[in-house]
């Protein structure tokens, strides 16, 4: 789960990490009130779950409440790479002396947290990695040890942090690692990490991603979820504990098992079609579960045909066929469904469907045949 900057900063503040004082605003009026309350120079920042808002005009430094109001007016509703700005962070302006970059990522390859630090703050870190690789210090932390003082020394020395700044930066690194561990983060990024004119070290931005599987122990973070920003199908799938990802084609796809469904998406594309979604119904074969999954797939208006791809294992294909027939009773189906059943008891399952002779269903024996048919049907309907 990706957090907005202001949410990430809430977690930072809880961990004792300095951030600029700020207010969240959903309307122009709220933005003005926040600017008035903070007084003086403020920064009006678009809160979107995507990078590059600065270049897109999503961040403005303004001198007073009038200017803040105007900035809010300009930024609310702003489309930043497909993300519409619906909330603003109004922050007290600070006098920045120096900008660094620090991040902690969950490095699956090394199976360790990876810390990155550079004095080239404020820039895109991919640029630094590509064009100034010597300036980007990288360090893995063995999770059996956790972050220790010597990790900080190593990383800061490699990044060229001046010796007189190491106490402050080292303490900040420890705190950020603390957030990474305590909040089950997959990413904690601060860009820029800034020294103010008065020597204070402060996290001027916050990009935090929390492990979905760990949200059960972070109800405060779970409550931060912005349901309004979610796709309606994705939201419905989430409520039903189904794995769903929207794509932009017209062939709806559901099947059992993430790998098989990913493969089905690929096969549809190989057959010349355009997949509309990924949906893993998981194990089991109740009519209720299949009904919910079909309803989510079909609630996407673009869908012109549906491929239901099952490889029966412990759940047998005859059970799946019965579940599917039950689902067809329970909901109205507005597009043709191609069903492929393979694996345990596939023949019995196919026989059940053939006997039922539902007009909306075409039964195929193999995955490739089923894909070809689903693509053809979608093209006919469009």
């Amino acid at each position: 789960m990706d957090l907005y900057e202001h949410q990430g900063k809430e977690l930072f503040a809880k961990a004792g990490i300095a951030v600029a004082e700020g207010r969240i605003a959903f309307t122009v009026a709220e933005a003005r009130a926040a600017a008035e309350e903070l007084g003086g120079t403020v920064v009006v920042k678009s809160q979107v779950l995507v990078g590059g808002r600065g270049k897109a005009g999503g961040v403005k430094v303004v001198k007073d409440a009038d200017a803040a109001e105007a900035a809010a007016e300009a930024i609310l509703g702003l489309d930043i790479k497909g993300h519409i700005t619906r909330r603003l962070l109004i922050e007290r302006g600070v006098a920045i002396a120096k900008e660094y970059y620090v991040s902690i990522t969950f490095d699956r390859s090394a199976k360790m947290p990876l810390l990155m630090l550079t004095t080239m703050g404020g820039m895109d870190v991919e640029d630094v990695a590509e064009n100034h690789p010597d300036m980007l210090a990288r360090l893995h932390v063995d999770p059996a040890l956790g972050f220790r003082g010597f990790h900080g020394v190593q990383l800061m020395a490699a990044a060229g942090i001046p010796v007189d700044e190491r106490k402050a930066v080292g303490a900040m690194l420890a705190q950020l690692y603390g957030v990474f561990e305590a909040e089950d983060a997959m990413l904690v990024e601060v860009n820029p990490l800034v020294f103010l004119d008065d020597g204070t070290l402060l996290a001027a931005d916050a990009k935090v991603t929390i492990d979905d599987n760990a949200l059960y122990r972070h109800p405060d973070v779970e409550a931060m979820r912005d349901l309004a920003a979610m796709d309606p199908q994705e939201q419905a799938a989430r409520e039903s504990h189904l794995a769903y990802v929207k794509l932009d084609g017209d062939v709806g796809i559901l099947g059992n098992g993430a790998g098989l469904v990913m493969s089905t998406v690929d096969v549809i594309a190989q057959a010349g079609g355009r997949p509309a979604n990924f949906l893993d119904v998981g194990g089991g074969a109740s009519a209720e579960k299949i009904t919910t999954a079909l309803e989510i797939v079909l609630s996407n208006d673009k869908v012109n045909s549906v491929l239901f791809n099952i490889f029966g294992g412990i759940t047998r294909c005859d059970e799946v066929a019965k579940g599917l027939l039950g689902a067809l009773e329970a909901t109205e189906i507005r597009a043709p469904i191609v069903v492929r059943l393979d694996g345990t008891n596939a023949e019995q399952g196919r026989a059940l469907l053939t006997e039922a002779a539902r007009p909306e269903i075409t039964v195929e024996k193999t995955m490739l045949e089923a894909a070809a048919t689903a693509v053809r049907l979608a093209k006919e309907a469009s």
Binding site: M112, E181, D211, D212, N256, G257, G259, L260, V265
Partner: protein, 291 residues
């Protein structure tokens, strides 16, 4: 000899009194796996259709000689269940549970790895050696014995390919479900080394998917030290970046972890990659036929 699931397996099922635990423990035993014990705290002295239940894994080790543990418990207890088995002296642990927090698995990984304990999973279907033993939830019906080692990050995709091979009359030495999580105990490289050392494995099928770079690392190892023919299939060419495709580990981060990159890395090392499961099975069938 096969690997992981063998005739020497003495299995303890952690979470045996749960619905899933009971179902699969009995299924595994029916298949011929030597299920010697179950564990559910507070249930010592009971039995599950003759399988004795203990409070703690260490009791199953001491009283029943368990040497392999199957973990089927809810995600919030799973990491600790693995650690319990590890501390009890179980040398091989298979964890089915899906949804374990990634940080928990970091801790588990760095505890067991230096201590030489083998973990398969989590979020995996287990391991099946057709005709010998089945540990976990793989539907044994689909597979038959044979010379092909099959290793995969995906359950149903494995069954798909195993089913296609079986339809062509080909069978497997062991099917290893590696698991769909970002941090798993047994990587492709570990499984390759197991298969390379296994007398009954003559060919290897590798089923990968988007996310991470384990397939790329495996390609290096295949070129370096695997002499048995390897055929691969990768899922997720059409997956958009930044989206978790069902498995917690199936996510393209930035430009890393794409299916195309994995295919390229494998082909660069001479591994033939099928464009779909059917083609991958066909390539393997041709290879076996040409022997």
């Amino acid at each position: 000899m096969a690997v992981i699931a063998t005739k020497d397996t003495r299995l303890v099922v952690q979470g045996i009194t749960g619905r899933e635990g009971t179902f699969h423990a009995l299924r595994n035993r029916d298949y011929g796996t030597n299920v010697v014990a179950g564990v559910t705290p507070g249930r010592a002295g009971q039995d599950v259709e003759g399988i004795p239940v203990f409070d703690a894994v260490v009791d199953a080790v001491e009283q029943q000689g368990a040497n392999t543990a199957l973990v089927i418990v809810p995600p919030r207890f799973a990491a600790e269940a693995i650690l319990e088995a590890a501390e009890a002296g179980v040398a091989q642990i298979i964890c089915i549970t899906e949804g374990i927090p990634a940080h928990d698995m970091l801790e588990v990984y760095h505890y067991i790895r230096p201590r030489g304990i083998h973990l398969l999973g989590p979020n995996c279907p287990g391991a099946l050696s057709p005709g010998i033993a089945n540990i976990g939830i793989i539907p044994a019906e689909v597979f038959k014995p044979g010379p092909i080692g099959l290793m995969s990050r995906s359950g149903t995709l494995t069954y798909q390919i195993g089913g296609e091979l079986a339809a062509k009359g080909l069978g497997n030495s062991t099917i290893i479900g590696l698991g769909g999580d970002p941090v798993i105990g047994t990587s492709f490289i570990d499984a390759l080394d197991l298969f390379q050392a296994d007398d009954e494995t003559e060919f290897i099928v590798m089923v990968g998917e988007i996310g991470g770079n384990e397939e790329e690392k495996a390609a290096e190892v295949i070129a370096e030290r695997i002499t048995k023919p390897v055929v691969a299939y990768i899922a997720g060419f059409e997956a958009p970046p930044g989206k978790t495709m069902g498995h917690a580990g199936a996510i393209i981060s930035g430009s890393a972890g794409t299916a195309a990159a994995k295919q390229e890395a494998l082909e660069a090392k001479g591994v033939r990659v099928g464009t779909n499961p059917t083609e991958a099975a066909q390539i393997m069938a041709d290879l076996v036929g040409n022997r």
